[in-house]
């Protein structure tokens, strides 16, 4: 049973001392400004080739046969008819007879044929005999004492209890106690580009064009699974349509694709469709928390006692941090991972945090109401002390001012009419930070510059960042740099996860570019009669620091190289990046209390960004993160049929994602703290949004929703309960 592939938050010191030679420029030309994506035109004109677009001579199309049953024993697999079908060049069984399949969509067999249609037709001709076994279709069922034991070590894995302080004393000190259950749903990644690859063998060497967040990690994955040396594998990812944590490895479909290609002796294209994505390529686990929490009369948190559980599907954990951020001096938590027969969880944009944030922040508002404190004031009382990576005490007031928080009315919009308005707030934290990326830089005699790094641009703008840092360092225009990334032949760089890419890659690029420039300076200095250390590169020239006239153009300088280019390697060094970030969000909603429909109208996000490399991509990350959160709050939900366990909405029609009119007015307030160095930004802005929206809905309606997504029926049910005199 695999553990969810979680990318660890990097725990590096917040500010490390680095080599001054590589320090970030204090008066940058490009860094921190709005630089457009260098590959934007390629993407919008279709010149950019994604894995899906790769075409190879004699290429075949692969198709996987998947289990339609959430739980079944494979009795027999017959490939005969499929092999005889038109165009079929390869067919294989992925599992042996007697294998037990544990989720709908689990891989059973595969075919490759000359066209995609032929592959689909042939896949239908693979005859699989299943013995259907009763599945665990819900957390409730899996936890019930009379549930069949479906997983070898039990359906429930109980973690160790975490306990600090004196719980009894904490509750004794409480003037009010909240006792409630909260939960969040299973969310699937829904990357715009689906998972998949094109695999091509040349003898015993494999080239794979993969939609992946980790070209090197995927190389390793292929080598291990196929039992070939890593040196025999090349993974290429030039353009990629998002992964959100679900694309770090070749996965089953990658290995199947390589095996089909081997069997057929031809390249194979195997990209998944939307249904396969929903079923078999990961998700964010659900979370449940039954909490008792206490607050003193003066609004100080005193105690927190929680039983939590959740499901990451078939054999995968469902952990999340709780309580989130706020300091309960006395606390206890007991967590259980619950297994059900559904596709396994994978890391997903800030794994665990949106769950922990939603549960804690909704609870915080409930406690604030009990002591009749404004939610922001209440939080200010209970936040941890200020630290570079934990600056909520500074950010709440900034957000409040930007948002107009002082116009918040107490819980329950008292204005007449069915449309109610409300404000809500919440906070987030994340790790991020840098680690060992490598790069290679060449300065060519004709003035050309190549910067190579084996990172990948998963849609976040990494390619643009590499160009910006290189151009900044060499004093050249951005388009003078040839940035080459997305290939495992290039110097090692880690997976794009945990919001570590910018903080890993940009320091490596900086170090490498400085080294290359130093090498060029050494060549040019004697010719100019200026010591190398006195040379600076700016505006396409190399010149003496104090005498611009004493210099030459970049091209002239490079011409002095003769035939031998400069070629240097460099790697990430401490001092240029930091880990740990904090942020605050505030949302305004409009709730129609007759239809139950909630609409987010405005959202302010104050987010620590450390040193901003490209303001435009940074803002895009924040806006994208907020939209992610809006969808999590109101729409997305993986729904399994209670009886059959099959997913009832494995498509884009019924697995709901908001549309353009659901996008609020978003203010992305980037807290630029250049002294901290570069910090990742992909995940943090997605954490706090759902909680802020939930609190805003409660502020608008006077009823509290403790379950995501906050669909119209839940809003109406809560209002109905209130009308009937029930508790809030």
């Amino acid at each position: 049973m695999a553990e969810a592939r979680q990318v660890p938050e990097v725990a590096a010191p917040a500010v490390a001392q680095g080599n001054a030679a590589y320090a970030w420029p204090t008066h940058p030309t490009y860094m921190g400004t709005d630089v457009q994506r260098i590959d934007g035109p390629d993407k919008v004109t279709g010149r950019a080739k994604y894995s899906y677009d790769i075409q190879r001579p004699n290429m075949l199309y692969g198709r996987i046969v998947r289990s339609p049953h959430p739980r079944a024993r494979v009795v027999a697999i017959d490939l005969t008819m499929a092999r005889q079908a038109p165009g079929v060049k390869a067919a294989l069984a992925v599992v042996e007879p007697n294998a037990i399949l544990m989720f709908q969509g689990e891989e059973v067999a595969a075919v490759a044929a000359a066209t995609e249609e032929q592959a689909r037709d042939a896949a239908r001709l693979v005859k699989v005999q299943y013995e259907v076994l009763p599945p665990l279709t819900s957390v409730e069922q899996a936890m019930s004492p009379d549930a069949p034991k479906v997983f070898p070590d039990g359906n429930v894995r109980e973690g160790a209890a975490e306990e600090t302080g004196d719980l009894a004393a904490g509750f004794k000190a409480a003037a009010h106690v909240v006792e409630q259950t909260y939960n969040t749903q299973v969310q699937t990644h829904v990357s715009l580009e689906t998972h998949g690859c094109v695999c091509e063998w040349d003898g015993d060497k494999l080239t794979a064009w993969v939609s992946t967040q980790a070209v090197h990690g995927t190389r390793e994955g292929f080598a291990q699974a196929l039992k070939i040396p890593q040196a025999n594998v090349r993974v290429i990812t030039q353009y990629m349509g998002g992964g959100f944590g679900s694309k770090f490895a070749p996965d089953a479909q990658g290995i199947i694709c390589a095996n089909l290609a081997k069997q057929a002796g031809a390249p194979v294209h195997l990209m998944l469709d939307r249904k396969e994505e929903h079923l078999a390529t990961g998700n964010r686990p659900s979370a449940y928390a039954k909490i008792r929490a206490g607050v003193s009369a003066d609004g100080m948190l005193t105690a927190f006692d929680a039983q939590t559980w959740g499901t990451g599907g078939a054999g995968v954990g469902a952990g999340f941090p709780l309580p989130y951020i706020y300091q309960f001096p006395n606390r206890r938590r007991q967590h259980k991972d619950v297994y059900i027969n559904a596709g396994g969880a994978r890391a997903m944009r800030a794994p665990g945090h949106p769950q922990g944030c939603f549960i804690t922040e909704v609870l915080m508002d409930e406690l604030a109401d009990l002591v009749k404190l404004d939610p922001v004031d209440f939080r200010m009382k209970n936040l941890p002390p200020d630290a570079p990576d934990a600056r909520w005490r500074a950010y709440f007031p900034i957000a409040a001012k930007l948002f107009g928080w002082d116009k918040r009315h107490p819980t329950g919009d008292a204005t007449p009419g069915p449309i109610k308005h409300g404000f809500g707030c919440s906070a987030n934290r994340w790790g991020g930070g840098g680690r060992g990326s490598h790069a290679h830089c060449e300065i060519l005699p004709d003035g050309g510059v190549i910067m190579r790094c084996g990172t990948q641009d998963i849609g976040t703008g990494t390619r643009t960042l590499v160009s910006i840092v290189t151009a900044e360092t060499l004093g050249l225009p951005i388009d003078a740099v040839n940035t080459e990334i997305g290939d495992s032949l290039y110097p090692f760089s880690g997976g794009s996860g945990g919001s570590t890419t910018a903080a890993s890659v940009t320091p490596a690029i900086r170090v490498t570019a400085v080294k290359a420039l130093d090498a060029l300076k050494a060549k040019v200095a004697p010719k100019l009669g200026v010591p190398p250390a006195d040379l600076v590169a700016s505006d396409g020239r190399l010149h003496a620091r104090n005498d611009r006239a004493k210099g030459m153009t970049w091209k002239e300088a490079c011409r002095t190289l003769g035939a031998e280019p400069i070629a240097v390697d460099g790697e990430w060094q401490p001092g240029l990046s930091a880990s740990g970030t904090s942020g605050v969000q505030m949302a305004e909603v409009e709730v129609d209390t007759e239809t139950g429909v909630s609409k987010v109208t405005r959202l302010v996000c104050v987010q620590d960004c450390g040193l901003i490399v490209d303001k435009l991509t940074a803002e895009s990350q924040v806006i994208g993160g907020v939209l992610f959160g809006v969808n999590y709050a109101l729409f997305e939900d993986r729904i399994l049929d209670r009886n059959t366990g099959q997913m009832v909405n494995p498509n884009m029609e019924w697995y709901l994602i908001g549309g353009p009119s659901d996008v609020p007015e978003i203010t992305a307030h980037l807290v630029d703290q250049p002294e901290r160095g570069v910090i990742g930004l992909g995940e943090p802005p997605a954490v706090a949004t759902a909680a802020a929206i939930a609190n805003a809905i409660a502020n608008a309606t006077g009823v509290r929703l403790r379950s995501l997504p906050m669909t119209p029926d839940k809003v109406l049910a809560a209002l109905e309960q209130q009308r009937a005199g029930g508790t809030r």
Partner: protein
């Protein structure tokens, strides 16, 4: 996502289109905007052997506003209604509203009003509007053309009075009298979605401020769009008051027979039907300067 094989005929005149339809009978389908037919073919829910494309018939693309009726030709697009010069007039407010919420702007660029009526999706928008406005569809058959009142035209889910080998040429919306206004209220999960519930409302007031005529219809409330006769009866002859509106809304809730799906439960949708009729009536009346 690939349709079954089919033949394609591009018609150059209504006569030619009609003769192809007559020739192929039940095997042929008219292709209007294709926004419903093509997806259905791609999912292989529909497998017509022949498509008769009427998009080249410019004459059928006209909107003709006459003295008694607005004639919307068979290939007049939703977007043409949205941009019609008269669409801002109060009496056309029902059409104004619906023309902005059918599907999304891209779909409205191709989708047609007549095609939508012929498709008769249980959750379609135009069907409910046509009921509330008491429209009629002009159908060409072997015996010549006939005008079918919308109540008779909508037979059942995806079934209309257009028989095999026949085609619809236009839909006629009666020109509403003075002191008429309407409203279209739709709850959708997001832009571009079919209705979770929707209500079409049109009222005409008499000289004394009483309701002279009322059209109330629901979408996504049964096998096809439904007229709420009880609501209309509750309104006609009455001064518009909160009580009268509530009676109409209650009748709508009662009449609504939706199906439960991921858009909502039966209970939720029935409740919405009432809420939306009440809102629609209040908005239509407000457009006539009446607060109720």
């Amino acid at each position: 996502m690939i349709p079954a094989a089919f033949d394609y005929i591009r018609a150059h005149s209504p006569d030619e289109a009609f003769s192809h339809l007559q020739q192929h009978g039940g095997d042929a389908r008219v292709l209007a905007g294709g926004q419903s037919l093509i997806p259905a073919m791609r999912f292989r829910l529909a497998r017509p052997a022949v498509l008769v494309d009427i998009n080249g018939l410019a004459d059928l693309g006209r909107l003709e506003l006459g003295r008694t009726a607005l004639a919307i030709g068979a290939i007049a697009r939703d977007s043409a209604i949205e941009r019609a010069p008269w669409i801002g007039e109060t009496r056309w407010s029902l059409l104004h509203d619906v023309s902005r919420v059918v599907a999304d702007p891209v779909v409205r660029q191709m989708g047609t009003v007549v095609g939508s009526l012929c498709h008769n999706d249980p959750s379609g928008d135009w069907t409910a509007v046509a009921l509330a406005a008491r429209a009629a569809v002009v159908v060409r058959g072997r015996q010549g053309t006939r005008t079918v009142p919308i109540d008779d035209f909508l037979v059942d889910s995806f079934t209309t009075a257009v028989g095999e080998g026949e085609m619809a040429l236009a839909v006629h919306f009666p020109v509403p009298g003075d002191r008429t206004a309407g409203s279209y209220q739709k709850v959708e999960r997001k832009v571009g979605d079919f209705a979770t519930a929707a209500a079409a409302v049109q009222v005409t007031l008499d000289g004394k401020g009483a309701i002279k005529e009322a059209g109330i219809a629901l979408s996504a409330a049964g096998p096809c769009a439904v007229r709420v006769t009880e609501a209309e009866q509750a309104l006609v002859g009455q001064k518009p008051t909160a009580d009268v509106i509530r009676a109409a809304a209650d009748a709508a809730s009662k009449r609504s027979e939706p199906q439960a799906d991921l858009r909502g439960s039966v209970e939720y949708k029935k409740n919405l039907a009432g809420v939306l009729v009440a809102r629609g009536l209040r908005q239509a009346l407000a457009r006539l300067g009446v607060q109720a």
